[in-house]
Structures are given as C-alpha cells and as structure tokens.
C-alpha cells in the first residue's frame, strides 16, 4: 500500500511539479491514467514463489520495490533511508517486442536520507524509459536498478543477502540487506483488497531485515522493511490519500497499518493492517481493529500541505495505546506528487512498548492548491 496509488487517483495528479532542483518534471501521472485494458488484475489468490516473485510481473500494470529503514552510526547518530523503484506499464508487453528502447514501460525511482540529529532530509527522483538497460528489474539474479542506484542480490539467484548501493549527489550509501523473518503475505494470503471487485493488489513484506554497511564511508547498522506490491487497478473511486505505517517494535514484533481517506470530509473509510509476531506469524487487522487519530500537524513551507506528524493509535492485540511521532517534521518529498515519508518513533505511555518505523502520508497538498 504505497505511494504509487497516488498517481492513479486522478485527483492527486497535479501536473508538473517543481522537483528538488528545478522545474523539470514530466506529467507522468496523466500518462499513467492510461488504459488498464490488456493487463491482468489481482482477482484471486495466487501461490507466491520466492525468490522468483522478487522479480517483475509485467502482465500487471504497476509494481514497486520499496525499501525503508533506520540506521545508526558508531557515535549513535540516527538516520532513515528510503529506496523505491516503480515500474509503470504503459501497454501490456508484447511477445514480439524487439525494441531497443522500451515502449511499454517507464521507471521511476526515489531515494531519501533523513539525518535525525541535524533534522536534514535529502531526496531525489529519477525517471527513465529503461532503454538499453539503464533501469529495470531482473529476477535471477535479482536486481532492481535505476542508473547508479541499485538493489541487488549478491549471489546468482534472488536469495538474500542483498546489497543496496545508492550513489547520489548528496550521499553514498552501501548496505548489506538480510532478512530475519519469512515474508509476510499481506491481506488475504497476499491478496490485498482495497475496494470492490478488481481493486486489489498482490502484496508481501519483509518486516524485519538487518542492514549493515557504510554511509559516506562511516560504518552504519540498522534494520529495514521491504514492501513488494503489484496490481493493475487498486483504489476505489473517491479515495484522496492515505496514511501508512510500518513500525518495528523493540520486542521483536512489527506492525503495518494503513487507512484510505475519501473525499467526504477527508474521512478514513478503509483501514487495514497486520501484526507480525516474533516467530514470524502474522495476524491480519480489520478496520474495526484499528483506531487512528492525528494529534499534531506540520505545514510544509514548500508544498503548503498540512501533514499530521504525530498520531495516537490503538490496535487490537496491543494492550496499550501507542504514540507515533515524526523524528522530525521536515521529511517531505517534492516531485511528481508531493508526499511525506519519513522516520518515526513509537512509544506507549509507560514505555512498555518502544520502536521505530516509517510513515507515509499522501494527498495532503490538495487543499492548499
């Protein structure tokens, strides 16, 4: 359940937006509002196979590889990082296709780094046709790359450990990525239903991954969360945005939550999630099991969007109410669609539960147009 849905929700397609450097973005969103004809849809349960499902599923229109995590260097300084690669199918792939420059797909990648102590957030966006192999995803060996940003398996197959290498203008991040728990199949055994018939995706997560490597040459360690999702049409009409949480608790459990907000009073009408136990088993959470309440807001000076950066949440299965707070407010990504994605801290009132995680919030800059 991630950011890309924003692009399909035509209400969010605000046209060219100023990217971090200059006004150079392309209205990819409108291009994405293309036809779903000819693509497969997530209609029924499927059997997931690993590592091959790490690779692309081009018969579906959209797909993403989403890695977020927290890092700490030797001096105890905290960082957050994000690497996302989106595959956007323009037309269903044709078997006769011998194009050197792809016609049916475009790729988009986002990277971000949050420096919690300095309250600094760097981010970049890249777009590509993926022609001649400048961007793409392969299953075996697994590799998901955009130019010189790359997440790939270290061996010949798709199996872990993986490696992340982001060489960006602002930072150079090299991490070894290894899983600690089996993949969590979200929703109903991996079929994540967001609306009526056909509005669903295939969705699995690695909720606890260990990362170690270097950030600008300094040794860093931490944990990460990988989300994989593919679909053709997901969101029911009227959805204006959502709030998505991935929380890694110190007790070894992980919590994923999201709510879809609709046009009517910006009210949440669709909530879901999962609680992953220490043994890797998971409990699916229904709408009634989740209560979310924003307690503090921050207004972005760039987009004008007003994001809730502190929340109170109550989840069935966790006795205590949790407080979720952004490690710092300024973690907005400005690009084709503006959204907030950043490091958060979670705690219970008497500190019995503590943890960290990532929060994604979309659709908040609409009112400020």
């Amino acid at each position: 359940m991630r950011f890309i849905h924003a692009l399909f929700c035509t209400g969010l397609l605000t046209g060219p937006v100023i990217s971090q450097a200059e006004q150079t973005s392309i209205d990819i969103g409108t291009a994405l509002a293309g036809s779903a004809v000819g693509f497969e849809q997530a209609l029924q349960l499927r059997a997931f196979e690993f590592p091959s499902d790490h690779g692309p599923h081009p018969s579906f229109r959209n797909e993403w590889w989403y890695l977020t995590g927290q890092l700490q260097d030797g001096s105890g300084r905290d960082y957050g990082f994000q690497y996302t690669l989106f595959r956007i199918g323009l037309t269903p792939p044709q078997s006769t296709d011998e194009d050197l420059w792809s016609r049916d797909t475009i790729w988009m990648a986002h990277v971000a780094l949050s420096d919690v102590k300095e309250k600094k957030h760097w981010h970049s966006q890249r777009l590509s046709h993926g022609g001649v192999g400048s961007a793409g995803v392969t299953a075996s060996p697994f590799s998901a790359w955009m130019d010189n940003w790359r997440l790939n398996a270290t061996g010949d197959s798709g199996n872990f450990p993986w490696e992340l290498h982001i060489a960006d203008e602002n930072f150079n991040l090299r991490l070894q990525v290894d899983n600690q728990k089996p993949p969590v199949l979200q929703g109903d055994r991996g079929l994540s239903q967001k609306g009526g018939a056909g509005n669903a995706s295939f969705y699995y997560s690695y909720t606890e991954m260990q990362v170690a490597g270097t950030l600008d040459g300094k040794t860093v360690n931490g944990s990460a969360w990988l989300d994989r999702e593919w679909s053709t049409s997901v969101l029911p009409p009227g959805v204006t945005g959502w709030d998505w949480f991935s929380l890694q608790l110190q007790d070894g459990r992980q919590l994923m939550l999201y709510q879809l907000r609709s046009e009517k009073n910006n009210a949440a009408n669709n909530k879901s999630g999962s609680l992953v136990q220490t043994d890797g088993s998971s409990i699916t959470l229904a709408a009634d099991d989740i209560s979310l309440q924003a307690t503090r807001h921050w207004r972005s000076p760039i987009s004008g969007a007003r994001y809730p950066t502190a929340w109170k949440l109550k989840v069935k299965g966790l006795v205590e109410e949790l407080t979720v707070t952004a490690s710092f407010d300024e973690q907005e990504l400005i690009g084709i669609v503006n959204y907030w994605e950043g490091v958060i801290e979670v705690e219970s009132p008497n500190n019995t539960i503590r943890g960290r995680g990532y929060l994604e919030m979309t659709g908040y800059d609409r009112g400020s147009e």
Partner: protein, 851 residues
Amino acid sequence: MNKVNNAWLINSNIRFYRQHPSQLLLTLLGLALGVAIATSVILTTASARKAFALSTEALYGRATHQILGGSQGVDAEYYRRLRTELGLTNSAPVIEGLASLGRESFTLLGIAPLAEAQLRPRNAQSFAANSALQSFVGDRHAVALDSETAARLGISKGETFALLINGESHQVTLALTLPHSSGSASLILTYIENARLWLERGATLDRIDLHLDNKKLELLQAWLPDKLRLVPSASHAQQMQEMTKAFNTNLTAMSLLALLIGAFLIHNTMSFVVVSRRTHYALYRSLGVTRAEILRSVLVEACALALLGSVIGAMLGVALAGQLIAMVTQTINDLYFVLTVRELHFSGWQWLLCVLLGTAAGTLPAIAAAWDAARTPPGQLALVSTLEQSSRARRKGLALLAVGMLLLGLALLALPGASLLPGFAALFAVVLGYALLVPMASGVLLQALRYLLVRSRTWGPQALVGGWRFTHAIGAIQRNMSRYGVALAALCVAIAATVGVDIMVGSFRSSVQNWLEDTLRSDIYISAPSSLSARAEGDLDPSLSQWLLSHNKIKNINTSRRITVQSREGEVTLMAIDPGNDQLRGFKPIANSKNDNTALAQAQAVQISEPLARTHSLRAGEKIELFTDNNGWQEFVIANVFRDYGRSQGMVLFHRKLYQQHWTDNAYSSIGLQLVDNADSKNQVEIIRQHLQEQNYSYMLNDNRSIREESLAIFDRTFAITHVLRLLTVGVAFLGLFSALMSVLLEKTREFAVFRALGARRSEMSTLILQQAAIIGCIAALLALPLGVVLAALLIDVINVRSFGWTIDMQISLSPLLFALALGLGAALLASILPARRLQKIQINHAMRME
C-alpha cells in the same frame, strides 16, 4: 536674440523646402533607400543568426557537451554505462537525421522524453502539457511538430502523413504539437526507437547530450573510451555559426555601400541648399546671426532630414528584410544546414541602431556644407562662383585625404593575418579614396575632352557632336563641379560596385565550372540520400556494385565514402575514394601546391581542400591529425592541397585503402560510373534507373551533366541576393544624379532663360541637359571601370579568400564593362528626362527676374 535667430533660420528652411519639394523628396527617398538596404540586410542577418541560435537551443538545449563516436556513431551500450556506472543522469540519447515533408527539409530528432527534462525542458514541458507521453512513446508512427509548422502544412493532431527518410516513405501520425518557437520550426521529434528504425541505426546513437559540471566532466574524461569523443556543445554551434559568418559579413558590407551612396546624396542636397540660400545667410550674418548659429542650423537641418529619411528607410528596410529573408534562408539551406526562418527576429534596439546609422551617415557629409554656410561673409552678394572657388580651394585638401585613404587601404591589406574585417575596411578605404578623387579626375577628363573638341572644330567630329552646345555642356559641368562632383562620385561608386561584383561572380562561376569539370570525372553517379547527422552519410547496398560490374557498358566504377570526422581544428568532411581499376588521381592541386599525387594513389598520404589548408595554415608535406575509429588520434601526411568550392568547412581526401586501415566502415555513399566510349549516358541512366526501381532502391541517380547544372543553379541562387542589392545600390546612385541635375537646373534657371532670350530653341535647351547627363554618365562609367576591376580583385583575392578560403581565377570579360557604360549612360539619361522637360517650360521673363 538667440531665439529670434533660430526662428528665422527654421522658418527660412521650411520655406525653402516648400519651394523645392522635389529636392526634398529626392533626398529623402535616396537616403531612405540607402538606409532601407542597410537595415534590411542587418535585420535579415540578425534574424538568421537568431533563428540559428533558437534552432541550436531546440537541438542541443542546455547540453554543455556531446559524446560523439566514429563513423558508426555511439554504441547505445555506452549510454547505459554512463548512467549506471557514472550516474550521469543529466544525459540524453539522440538519434538525428534528415526527413522531407513535401518539398521541405526537416531535422528528425529521435529522443527519449524522460531523459529530456534536464536538457531540453521545453520538450519535456510539451509532453506534460499535452499528456502525450504515452502515445508519443507507444505509437510506432508518432511524431511531434512545431504548432505553427503543423498549421502551415495543414496537419492536425491525429492526422497521418508521409515523411521521406533516407529515400523511403514512412507514414507518421502527428501525436502532439510543440508550442511555437522559431527554433523548432524545422524539427520533427519522434521517440528514439522510431528514429532508430527509420534511420536504420542498429544499436547505435548519433550522440549523447550531456549537462556537466566540472566535477562530472573530470569524471567522464577519465572514463571516456578511445572510441568516443567528448565535444563541448558550443564548438559545434560555433562551427556552424562560423560557416555563415563570412556570408553575413559580405552581405552587410554590400549594404553599407548602399548607405554610403545614400550619404553622398545628403551631402549633395545640403550643398545645394547652402548654395541656394547664400544670400539669406549673408543677410542673416549682417543682421547679427553668428557663424556658430548658422553652422548649427545647417547641421540641425541635415540631421533632421537624415533622421526623417532614416526612419522612413528603416521602416522600408523591415519590409524589404521580409523579402530578403527567404533568399538568405535558401542560401543557408543550399550551402550549410537546415534552417527555417519564416519571421524576422530583431529587437527594437537593432532597428534603432539602423536609424542612428542612417542619421549619422546623413549628417556627417553635411559638415562641409554647413562650414561653407557659416563662412558666408555678412552682406556679400552671394554668387555661386564663390562656392565654386571654395570648392576648388578645398580640392587640395580632398586630394590629400584621398591619397591618405588609398594608403590606408593598402596598409590594411598588408596587415598580417587573414581576418575579414580589415579586408572590408581596406575595401571601403579604397572606394572612399577613389570616390574623393572622382571630381578631380572628372575635371581632368572634361578638360581633355574640351581640348579635343576645340582642336577638332576644324574637322569632322564637330558636326557630329553638335557644335557649341557640346562644348557648352562640358563647360557647364566644369563650372558646376561642386554639384555634379558628388553625384558623379556616387554614380561612379555604384557602377564600380556593379562591375566589381559582376567580374567577381563571373570569375567565380567559371572557376566553379572548371572545378566541376575536373571533379566530376565519371559519367553517371549513384548516391545514397545524405543525412544531416554528424556521422556517415547514407549507405548504398554493396550488391549494387556487383550488378553494375556485370553491366557491359561500364568501363570502370569507383566508389566514394563521405563521413564527418573530428580533426584537432574541428569537424571536417572525409572522403575516401576507391578508384576501381583506375589509379586514384586525386583532385587538381592549387597552383602553388605540389602537383604530385603518387603518395595519394599509393594510399600513403591524403589531399586536403583549400579552405581547410587556409583556415588552419596547413601545407603540403605537413600532417593533419584526425580521430579514427580504430586508432584514436592519428596523423596523416598531406600530399597537396586541392581546390574545393563544394564546402567551406574543409575536406580531406583519402584512398579507400588508407581509410580502411583506420576506420571500421565498409559502406560507401556514392558510386561513379565510367561508360565505355560509345555508350549513350542518357540510355544508361534509364537502364540503371529501371534496375534501381526493380530492386526498390531509393538512391539518387544523376548523369554528369545534370549534377553540373544543379550545382550551377545553386551557385546562381546564392548570388541572387547580391544582384538584388546591387540593383538597389544603383537605384540610390540614380536618385543622386537625378537630384543633382534637378538642383543644377533650379540654380541655373536664370542662365538658361538668358540662353533662351538669346535665341536658343526649347529643344536645344533640353538637348543641353541631356548632353550634360550623357557626359556625366559616360565619365562616371569610365572612371568606374578601373575602380570596378580593383574592387573585383579585392573581392576575389582578399574578401573571398578570407571568407571562404577559395582561390578564384579572375577573368575580365567585356560584358560587365559594356554593361557599366550602358548603366552609366542609361541612368544619367533617365535622370535627365524630367529636368529636361522642365527646362522646356521655362518662362523667360519670369526666370530672368531671378528668384
């Protein structure tokens, strides 16, 4: 007192022009025409330059550098490596070629829209605004056109039309239109995959555009494989700009000549005005008006006239520029590159500059007249003869000035270096110096003529030329030299310019003709349609030569390959010839180059073209360094230098064997066929054409003669604008003479009335004017001949060489000289018709009362 003086002077001026409206009109018209010519050329070349800058912007955008490959382009794999290994995300792959739509040529630009954002944001924004990314990328036929081009061609969005690419017709669909800019007017955009297929580029690119900062530049330079070249964007654009610079400078110089002649006109008028009003000035002086006030009033008057004429002229110039732009664009397209200029681009400042230029050119020559006016002693009865005396007194000064100008011209020519501006400065110095001498020389000629006539009274010619009237006509001119002198000089310069340009163009044309004969040695040529991109021209199917060889009417076939390669001095054309079963003879060397092509024939040395040799001071025996496919930078010995009027950007001729040692390229661009002696080339062309059609080849097939004719047609088109400017210049001079004759007539009305009173018939009076005009015309033409020849020599040996690096053999034929005489005589007689008719209407008693 001052204000009163000024009011007097102004009123007097206005009254004067009211009484002489034709004089005012002629002056304004003459100067306006001169300014119009200068303005039109200045605005036209400015527009072409601006259009060029815009099309460069459309082609290269913000790119600071390009990566180019050898003859086979850039392997697309390098693009992947640039992005994945070096992370150079400000890079865009480009495939570029030529496409024809109807009769128009366009640059076909194959792009990857998502890579465009950092380099050509205009393109990127167009996709965004039109939501056209999906159809542009997904549709195998989708193209984008400039909105105005689409409207002009009547193509609407979604419509399908045919594009001719490399001789093949492709059905394409207009997916979106780009917001109009002159730069994109001659562009057709398409997805890079379409361009790759249409232009048959395989897995290669024509270039990679990059936006690099210093850090990334260093990174890239360290990484760059030998097979690739990194070129700053500016260098390509600059080279293209350089090519047309000489052409533009030549036009500008030509137009300034017209302005100069226009300035003569103002001088003439102001002198006339001053002479006519000498009595007034004398009166004012005795009433207390100071010299400075008179000086100022005459200058202000001249300035006002010049300003008015210049404003009118500059407005006319805009209209004229609208006409010239098509001619200039045609020439640029014929000779240099695809450029569409459909509108004028100039700033108000440029226009204002033209007005100021005209005003200055009109005011400066009036200084002498103003000085004369100011020197008028108070109360003196004004006599024209005093002016004539002062004119004579001034002659000494003028002669010195003239000699000074001529010496300056010579000194400028002797300046080391071969830049164009001193060349033109020298040319103008010579013209001015000569023009200053014209009145004196005319005086001498007239004196000689009079002497001859007087001596010949006892024999034949007297009856022939009409007795006393002819001598009188000469005398009249001599007495009015202050008036006629300037008109004579103006006419002389105009005719000389015509003669000079005529001789130059004629010599040039015959040199080109000889060169074509020497260069085109085969009877029939087959060539692939040429492409615009910075790499090899189109390829011919190798199996074609097999078929040709089996054809029994063909004695020998030779093939040639033309590609653009990088030299240390910039891009040059490389031509590799395989002479077949002949020996490679190479092209005819220029006069002072070693006439030995053995090394060339043995594939040990190369020949270079004269423009290349000149621009980079290369000589036979020296070496030229070129970027090769196989061995990177390599030096080649220059056997000698050959004439080449084909391109001013330089060419290197290789034996195919030598070429293939250094370039991985088996293709060829054209085939020359030598027929057996008794074969009829027309028949053979038809037979071959049939074969090409059967095989579905879309090659160009020409016989020797049609190539020659087409080349000369292009040559003539190139000089069309020159002819237009030349005629307009003569027009200005004509107005000058007309105005001079009118002013003399007005001044001498009383004199003529006396003649009439003494019994001269009306017809005799008009004959007198016609005779004067004829004599002036003849003298102007006679004096123009030597100047014309000198101008031709300067144009050929200085301007051309410095502009294009071409040697032209000067050939003086009789026709331009006879044309000059006819022009002088014709212009003079035409200018005298109205004054002569006017003279017939003189009322004797009225006129004798004096004004």
